[in-house]
Symmetry: C2
Subunit: 356 residues, 2 copies
Amino acid sequence: MMSELHINLSESLKSKPASDALGFGKYFSDHMFIMDYSSEDGWHDARIIPYGPISLDPSAMVLHYGQEVFEGMKAYRTPLGEIAMFRPDMNLKRLNNSCERISIPQVDTEFVLEAIAQLVRIDQEWIPDGEENALYIRPFIIATEAALGVRASKQYMLMVILSPVGAYYPEGIHPVSIYVEEQYVRAVRGGTGEAKTSGNYASGIKAQEIAKTKGFSQVLWLDGKQHKYIEEVGSMNVFFKVNGEILTPALTGSILQGVTRDSVITLLREWGYTVVERVISIEELFEASRQGLLEEAFGTGTAAVISPIGSLSWGDKNTEISGGVTGELSQRLYDSITGIQRGKLADPFNWVYTVK
Amino acid sequence: MMSELHINLSESLKSKPASDALGFGKYFSDHMFIMDYSSEDGWHDARIIPYGPISLDPSAMVLHYGQEVFEGMKAYRTPLGEIAMFRPDMNLKRLNNSCERISIPQVDTEFVLEAIAQLVRIDQEWIPDGEENALYIRPFIIATEAALGVRASKQYMLMVILSPVGAYYPEGIHPVSIYVEEQYVRAVRGGTGEAKTSGNYASGIKAQEIAKTKGFSQVLWLDGKQHKYIEEVGSMNVFFKVNGEILTPALTGSILQGVTRDSVITLLREWGYTVVERVISIEELFEASRQGLLEEAFGTGTAAVISPIGSLSWGDKNTEISGGVTGELSQRLYDSITGIQRGKLADPFNWVYTVK
């Protein structure tokens, strides 16, 4: 199928940002991948072209009814000089799962992965140097039909753009303070919380801003039905080490099925830890903390990999975790996953996809 | 402030569609209104320009994190030849309420209303003839900052586009069959259900498609917490006439504050009906139906105005309403509201805004 991928290289390459001032998602590489969909022709016209603005009709459905899904992954340069990606098959499978929930047509994941590999190969000079840096890969699909009316679009555009990024938190792996959100809700079972779709993120921005003004880094989301059970932290999955055992919210339909989440569970079990996926109430967690049993807490996601939680604030209750420093297990997970991702450690689970 | 509105008229006007084949949201007029926002300059560069594609960076935040709000209203040609709009102040107030929830900066509603009036004036030839037809007005705001990162955008674009439309349902006012949705959820308290934002609509498309394949026109949404209480029907508010009294779900935070909803309540009270805004369980409604007390049911919204519900299907239970024909009260409300909107009936509540 790769014969169907047309390539039109840019005639003028952009200058690259300094690798110590990348930030997150501020710069974009020289090329992008685009593929169109119409109900008549299916997915077609796959092409790599110079990165640049796209043209949309003002009535394009994505701008009104939010039919959109996206993914996020990273590419790294290994010590052998190869280009490595981390479990892209899982991301692309999830892309199709998100499509299913938002009524967007499925994509051929193998073809898209080959197209992404080709794009990364072309723009490989954009993979930044530096321990914490990576080339962030953002595939997304938008509804482009020019019509107002609440229904599934008949036209879509899949795009992949690349951004050289630094650490998601400028300070690197570092415990953050978290505000337990009791009023606003990210998602509810029966909604779209399990899909990686724009509406889930729009709904969280306000709570995040309020938390920031109160001096917190992020919010801990509780379930939408009872505001009792822990779901996610910011836009990450969340784990707790309680009395030696690892707890993480079960995938009940309102929580994103994180690739890093899955990798963390696999590693922890390999290391002999008991990992329990179940409902976890915020009350239970604060009780464990009161008893001195809450040993570590951390978020997991592609952007930050492991983000240790240094404190939790719930109503008038506060609790410090791991003495406010990065816990031993959080650090071990961060080192192990980033080590595997960057080709510096052995890859026993075949997670690394090498761009040939 | 109107002096700040720049106008660049199109040099070639499009041909207009036949007024008996408009459909909904398929055609767009010759011009559009645009205004930009940056955190440095606030809202600026208000302009009416020829309708056409807009240029967005592929990383524009709206395409990833769904920061978007919109509105819908209609303009009509009155028998006196004037141009009438229906309660646009309420729509623009709601636009700002939606902005507040989605962390989008507020707009000057008076200025936007004058800009819309000017746009409608310029494109007034696009107000279609015909009883059921109108010029649909779609204001919307999108986050345009070119950056990946879940936070409020620093740049936005407000646009207003116009579309000559026919009846929302091609058959006009006509009872529709409704499927009570028990699995999927449109919104939950603490989420974004009260805001007119794209994510609420994306989340509903799948349930709507499933209902269609089962032979229903639309879904009735139940609350996200218990799946017991009635919220909306399709993308409309919903009313029931039970034993002479009118019931509609209370505005508890997950329901859109409809302009037509408010107008219907006002008219009904004026006519001497008791209107009760409260939680209504689907069980209670089916019990009322069993007792022969469910006299009428209808959805309300700008697009369809009044959409009578002919039958409800809830699990294995079915109930026909008003003998499957348009109820007397539904018809009276439709005739009254459309009559006021089109300047054919007196306007005792000063709902009509005349474009001078």
